[in-house]
Amino acid sequence: MKHTCLYTAHQQAGAKLIEFGGWEMPVYYTSILDEHQAVRTAAGLFDISHMGEIRARGADAAGFLNFVLTNDLRKLPPGLGQYTLLCNPRGAVVDDLYVYQTGPAEFLLVVNASRLDADAQWLQQRLAEFPKAGGVELKNESDDFGAVALQGPAAAGFIDGCFQSTTKAPSRLRKNEIVRCHFDGQPVFVSRTGYTGEDGFEIMAPVQITAPIWNKLLEAGHPAGLKPAGLGARDTLRTEACYPLYGHELNENTTPIEAGLGFFVAWNKGDFIGRAALAAQKAAGPAKKLAAFKMTGRSAPPRPQYSIWSAGPKSERIGEVTSGTQSPTLGLGIGLGYVPPKYAAANTPIAIEIRGKPFPAVIIPKPFYRGVEKRFSNAPAGVSFTH
């Protein structure tokens, strides 16, 4: 298993470690619930160094990325990022990612750890076919980058003291904005993004200074209640916010239309990989839709792969849970899963099969939880997330 540049720090902090996407990562330090609450009420610090960083540079980099990604890069001025998807010609998802324009004709793609190799290969293959391939330099720089996510309502109160910025202090960034700051004289990227439903920041830094940044943030945030947080809390937080996780809600047989991510597919930017299939599916209507549900009574938490049944006397199996957990905020079981569109409307009663028995649940509007983030977002409710 691979170890991030923060592995020693996790061991020293007494983290419980698990395998995730080929990496040995902290699942929690004290408890998932504690860390979840810290992020909702104060702040939490996550190691996200396992995520991949791919850089694209050159005069034709924007044109190439706009051809392989679904969102419209032309809407992205230097210094901003956007959530976007990498699709195959069938319109299904190779990966979901964040792309930032970090400078003129210079882009940073932050991709899922579990998909980095697939993404890098996919992009190189598509670049080889791209007519203006000579004007694009594509480089997997994941080994050079460490990354941490500082998330929670208290984060903006202490982050500025941890970095030197000649342009804009991190707390002055707006949602999705990215700035080059310095730490110990070395350049780092700080963006106002996250995967928790809270206000927060992600810091992408050279591997050799990621541990010092981690320690500096923990020290600066301690009075405000900052705690290190693991993948367990990251999963409950993102599930409450209804953010998809690749391998659960997204895979190479599922489209952004089915996943409710149509907002991130730009129809008026010209052709892009997957466009024809996605347009046809949008016109015909998808056969399944991602829906969010909550248990209506006390039950065991819903888990991935549990069956979803329609309610009523002629109950039939209509789908499968893709993500499910006990919501620490609601104190109830919550989940996401694909169902036929006629069952996907809010307030539709359904049942979740838990160990052979049906338990009542109801489809609810996404997301379960919307925190400070909404004040930073211009996107319609439910689609303004970052990854």
């Binding site: 007494g14 419980k16 699942v27 929690y28 408890s31 998932i32 619930l33 367990g232 409950t236 006390r298 039950s299 065991a300 938490p301 888990r303 957990t325 006990q326 620490p328 160990r355």
Partner: protein, 127 residues
């Protein structure tokens, strides 16, 4: 962090404990087990009257992250299930040997207890 292993209990390899008095036993999960599970959010207990055999899966403890089967450490009939756990599953974490007990059984064969681990053996197992 070393887990608490009370000296007056018997233990199963699968981390259940039994407090035996006469022909009944109270059953729960060890401090080590609750610490490994963390954040218990739901407990499914066997119905009163159910006959269970040693090693049989008879309860489920669900943490935020995962569902874990609980195995009967002794054979017998379930005569009580902890009613507090429906509302307060977190008692399994906060008081694994006290209010977080799971169920009580009337033992089919009290001599079976001799096959369970002593506190010393269990301490070695989790070391």
């Amino acid at each position: 962090m070393s887990a608490h292993v009370p000296s007056d209990l018997k233990y199963a390899k699968s981390h259940e404990w039994a407090r035996i008095s006469g022909d009944t036993a109270v059953v729960g999960i060890s401090d080590h087990a609750q610490h490994e599970l963390t954040d218990v959010v739901f407990v499914e207990l066997p119905a009163v009257g159910r006959k269970i055999r040693t090693g049989e899966s008879c309860a489920v403890v669900e943490s935020v992250k995962t569902a874990s089967d609980i195995y009967a450490p002794l054979s017998g009939e379930v005569i009580e299930a902890n009613p507090q756990l429906a509302q307060h599953p977190e008692l399994v974490n906060t008081a694994p040997y006290g209010d977080g007990w799971l169920f009580k059984i009337k033992l089919a064969d009290p001599a079976e207890a001799g096959k369970m681990l002593t506190p010393e053996d269990y301490t070695k197992q989790i070391a």
